[in-house]
């Protein structure tokens, strides 16, 4: 069985940067990633992007090219289309079970870096399970990886990704029909106190202003302060409904993209039993780490958005920092010398975050959906059923599994997890920390038995 000093899970910006730096420091590194190509979701299909596609997707996306090229040249072993489904400790090492599509195999590593990024927060609104409704990320993936665009689309929710997607669709020549911001009408006023500090991250503010300008110039309808949002359709989405200041709106469309911000992907850090803390302004659980991004589980590090939402530039810096730290722990002399400079850049890059978190705080109506709204899509469990089960004695997400099978469908609670926590907390009148989160057990994803028949060791 091959032994590595570092196994990196995820080949997005954090994973690629960490693997590149760790290899440069002379460590033996392997990178495991579920996708067929490096880039993660933010730089999805970056190696195939034509000049036209780069022009549509913008300069920040194009930055992924150099990162991917550096990673390819780094000498790190790289297993694409590979799922890490189990990890165990043995004799001071981690034994990792991998599913490669062509059977299972096992490798060993001294340290792990979880670089599995973020997932979109669920947006449980009436009609969100209808065909024709996707995450905003899904529409962006269609654009990045497949050159696909949606005609007659409404983008709804809140967050920078919603505006970025609108801007990219406009650049592709297929503007969305409307952008509908769900939540309070005074988002900007609420965020203003955080603006002075955000000025240190002025590049992000300029980028945001550019998105709004693109929207205006293209004549895209931009609704703010929408509430009571729901999607109409029998069999598939045909329109969206919402209210603004008491006035009802209905917009016909054939595609709806939902977005309410992103949260750290919790699956792997939870499976590894890392401690998590509730982050009140990110409205998400974040793995507890020391200043070197080592989690409560010794030897398990987390970088990128999985360590708390910070964006792609911070993901790269965190990845490099972790790589240098692990190199130092492995005895590479002088490896930590660059860490203070990286910390300064991280601090500057994070300056805009409190402003963004206040500006795009998730709308209360998706954290506390109406009784008839489906929360668990797989098992079709409504918010009302969850409220009833909580009233009937289920104190948290794990007991809801037994009561309602909620979170026990094929997605294993990936989609509904944050929504279930939010709903339990509000129903019981307790904090999200006290409400808790789904336990995650191996296998990390359902595996066919055939995968286990021959665990190859190499």
């Amino acid at each position: 069985m091959k032994q590595y000093q570092l196994a990196v899970i995820g080949a997005g910006p954090a994973g690629m940067a960490a693997a590149t730096e760790a290899s440069r420091q002379g460590l033996s590194v392997i990178v495991l990633d579920e996708q067929a190509q490096p880039g993660g979701q933010i730089y999805r299909a970056i190696e195939q992007a034509s000049p036209q596609r780069l022009a549509v997707l913008g300069a920040d996306y194009a930055k992924g090219s150099a990162l991917a090229a550096g990673f390819r040249a780094s000498g790190a072993d790289y297993l694409p289309s590979t799922l890490l489904w189990n990890a165990e400790r043995k004799d001071g090492h981690f034994l990792l079970d991998l599913s490669t599509g062509a059977g299972s195999r096992r490798i060993s590593a001294s340290r792990l870096l979880v670089a599995t990024g973020a997932v979109e927060r669920p947006v449980p609104v009436p009609g969100w399970t209808l065909p024709g409704v996707t995450t905003a990320g899904a529409l962006q993936i269609l654009l990045k990886a497949h050159g696909g665009v949606a005609q007659s689309a409404v983008l709804a929710g809140a967050g920078p990704l919603l505006l970025l997607l609108a801007q990219q669709m406009i650049a592709a020549g297929v503007a969305p029909r409307a952008v509908v911001e769900i939540g309070p009408a005074n988002r900007l006023r609420r965020a203003l106190p955080f603006l002075p500090r955000a000025l240190a991250g002025w590049r992000y503010l300029v980028k945001g202003a550019g998105m709004l300008r693109a929207l205006r110039q293209a004549g895209v309808a931009w609704y703010q302060g929408a509430s009571g949002f729901w999607i109409e359709g029998s069999g598939e989405a045909t329109a969206v409904h919402f209210e603004i200041a008491g006035e009802a709106h209905r917009i016909e469309c054939s595609q709806v993209a939902l977005h309410m911000g992103v949260v750290p992907n919790p699956q792997l850090t939870r499976m590894l039993r890392c401690e998590h803390d509730w982050h009140p302004t990110q409205q998400a659980f974040v793995p507890r780490t020391d200043v070197f991004f080592e989690t409560s589980e010794a030897g398990v590090f987390v970088a990128g958005d999985g360590a708390g939402i910070g964006g792609a530039a911070s993901a790269v810096l965190r990845g490099q920092l972790v790589a240098l730290r692990i190199a130092a722990l492995e005895g590479v002399r002088g490896a930590e010398a660059r860490i203070p400079a990286i910390r300064r850049r991280l601090k500057r890059d994070a300056a805009v975050r409190p402003f963004l978190e206040a500006l795009y705080a998730p709308a209360e109506e998706v954290l506390n959906p109406t009784d008839t709204t489906l929360v668990c899509r797989c098992e079709e469990v409504t918010a009302g059923a969850i409220r009833q089960a909580v009233a009937g004695g289920a104190p948290g997400p794990n007991q809801l599994k037994a009561f309602l099978r909620c979170g026990m469908g094929p997605c294993q609670g990936r989609t509904c997890g944050p929504a279930v926590t939010a709903l339990v907390a509000r129903t019981r009148g307790v904090s999200e920390a006290e409400a808790g989160y789904f336990r995650v057990r191996p296998p990390l994803k359902p595996l066919p038995l055939s995968e286990l028949a021959d665990i190859a060791e190499d």
Binding site: P131, T134, A138, I141, E236, Q255, K401
Partner: protein
């Protein structure tokens, strides 16, 4: 409606395997290099890819990044494949999945699937 910015490359001069075509319930679907099954179907105008076990409601791919499991389909006779994680290969046979296909699993989340 979803559409492609660039046309799907046609099969090359030496034909046969050049074009990425596959079978979806008797219909030939053309894909572009790099397409996943889910993306190819969506961009070919296919609106639903499965129905749910509980109510039989129609569903379609939701996240396209392997997280939501809404894209479960039967691919080359194997049920419960995540169509957004499977690259198109020429000649594949893809079907919608109706209800719960039994998962042959070793475990799954607490209590199994």
């Amino acid at each position: 409606m979803l559409k492609r910015l660039e046309p799907v490359p046609a099969g090359g001069a030496d034909k046969e395997d050049e074009g990425l075509e596959f079978d979806f319930e008797g219909t030939r679907i053309s894909a572009a290099p790099g397409d996943t099954v889910a993306a190819a179907l969506m961009l070919a105008g296919i609106r639903t890819t499965r129905s749910t076990p509980a109510s039989g409601a129609s569903r379609a791919p939701y996240c396209l990044m392997g997280s939501c499991f809404e894209c479960l389909m039967e691919i080359d006779g194997v049920p419960n494949r995540q169509a957004c994680m499977v690259a198109v290969r020429p000649g594949m046979v893809v079907r919608r999945q109706a209800g719960a296909a039994r998962l042959a699993l070793t475990g799954g989340p607490e209590g199994g699937l």
